[in-house]
């Protein structure tokens, strides 16, 4: 289980997160929505360890990890697909995927190779294996980025707006792929998303953020999308 307890964070002197409580159970799909700038990306970064918390705790599989470095958290099963994809632009697609392997260090069980499933879910990872990742188009990059996250054999997958800038048909493919990841690999997913239709069809539960706070939560099955729209208006 991934659990946040009263997490606060700041940029310099200005606080952006004010006591976030949130949890994602194993193999659960949760979506986090909210307007621009409410702190969604910041929250994901505090979970991964890329941004320090100023207070509160992050628990991963029961262990307190908020003081741990990002790379140790990655090694204990946390994978992150950032907004903007974060591929290594000068590396080839295949090298990008190989860069998922360091997360397996210290995990005795894991086989240090790219799982076949990645190619299965995202065929372009094989088709474009030799191309520089930086030269792919946005949609292609997004698929490689998710593929790379899967190479780390995560238990928790954090996705920051994976549909941003992606053509509709690939959004569908990503949704299919993510659903398989959840069901076949039993990976828990925390999805930050603006595209509500997609978020609702994928996730079991949702959290809504406003100005650095979680203001509402519930199950997607019980809440129609128009009921949360008001949080997203200007």
């Amino acid at each position: 289980m991934l659990k946040l307890e009263g997490v606060t964070a700041a940029y310099g002197q200005s606080p952006v997160l004010f006591g976030i409580d949130l949890e994602v159970a194993d193999a659960e799909a949760v979506t986090l929505i909210g307007r621009n700038g409410v702190g969604k990306t910041t929250l994901l970064r505090t979970i991964t360890g890329l941004h320090p918390v100023t207070g509160g705790g992050v628990r991963l599989n029961g262990a307190q990890v908020e003081k741990e470095a990002a790379f140790t958290r990655a090694r204990s099963g946390l994978a992150y697909v950032p907004q903007g994809r974060g591929l290594f632009g000068h590396l080839t697609v295949e090298e990008n995927l190989l860069m998922g392997l360091p997360a397996l260090s210290g995990r005795a069980t894991a086989k240090r190779e790219i799982p076949e499933l990645v190619y299965d879910l995202f065929p372009i990872c094989r088709d474009m294996a030799g191309r520089r990742a930086g030269n792919l188009s946005g949609g292609q990059q997004q698929q490689v980025a998710i593929g790379r996250a899967l190479v780390t054999q995560p238990r928790y997958l954090l996705l920051d707006e994976p549909t941003e800038g992606i053509q509709p048909s690939i959004v569908q493919e990503i949704e299919v792929a993510l659903t398989r990841v959840r069901t076949e690999l039993r990976v828990a997913v925390l999805l930050v998303e603006q595209y509500l239709d997609f978020a609702w069809s994928f996730a079991d539960r949702y959290y809504v953020m406003q100005k650095g706070r979680v203001v509402e939560t519930g199950t997607t099955a019980d809440t129609p999308t128009h009921a949360v729209q008001r949080y997203l208006g200007v």
């Binding site: 990002a70 591929l87 632009g89 000068h90 860069m99 998922g100 360091p102 790379r148």
Partner: protein
Amino acid sequence: MDFTFISGQLFTGLSVASILLLAALGLALSFGLMRVINMAHGEFLMVGGYLTYLAAQWAGPTLGDAWLWVAFPLAFLGAGLLGAVMEFAVIRRLYGRPLDTLLATFGISLILQQAARQLFGSTGVPVTAPAWLGGALTLGDVTLPFVRLFVIALALIVLAGMWWLLNRSPFGMHVRAVNQNREMAAALGVNTRSLDMLVFSLGAGIAGVAGVGLALIAPVNPTVGAAYIVNAFLVVVVGGVGSVLGAAVAAVLLGFVTALAEGFTSSSLAQAILLVLVVAFLQWKPRGLIPTKSRALEEA
């Protein structure tokens, strides 16, 4: 200009190139890959040089000429260790701020030079090369001192090793990834801190090895590094930042230009000519001989 003179100058060009390359290869790591403008790089050379001197002092009496084989690991590890300390204390706080790094490392270079001055004095300490490096290969009228040939060989070995490490080993891939996107690499489980330290100290260690080569040719003094630093940076820039092979080609090019200019003018004019030619070259190829697209550097 007779044939002997010309061939002598060509050899001079290669000699100069080998020293330049040795000085530049360490920079190819710290500057080329990590984008750290290490103005104290020359001082790693200096440290390597002094350690060579110490190795000759300590090990010379017992080991005879074999002290040289003590000097290499000593210089490599000594300079590498200093590099690690420097990375830990200063550099790591400045990633992404290349211009600030430049200033801070310049400060460090002042401190190291002054420390050397107080420890060893301002005059150079001479190192006597092993006897088997004393002779020269004579081809017709041209004499090729063994010391020079040795340094050329050293440069080639270090070059080959670095090329393999960066382009053919997983270590190299991690290094390249970290230097494109440090955060993402960390999020994928790479211990970026220790990798950074490792790469930086490896660059320092290579400079230390370059210091061994230098010490065999010229005395080691507190400013020996400062004398090479600008040219070493130019080699990296002309070669194309981030490209080890580019640096090699650039070193040879600069070496020949120097030798040619020195052959036909005076040595101080040659240096001025070289610098101006380099700037002119950058007009033509601003990203060097083998350009790597790299934005991090320009965003400085």
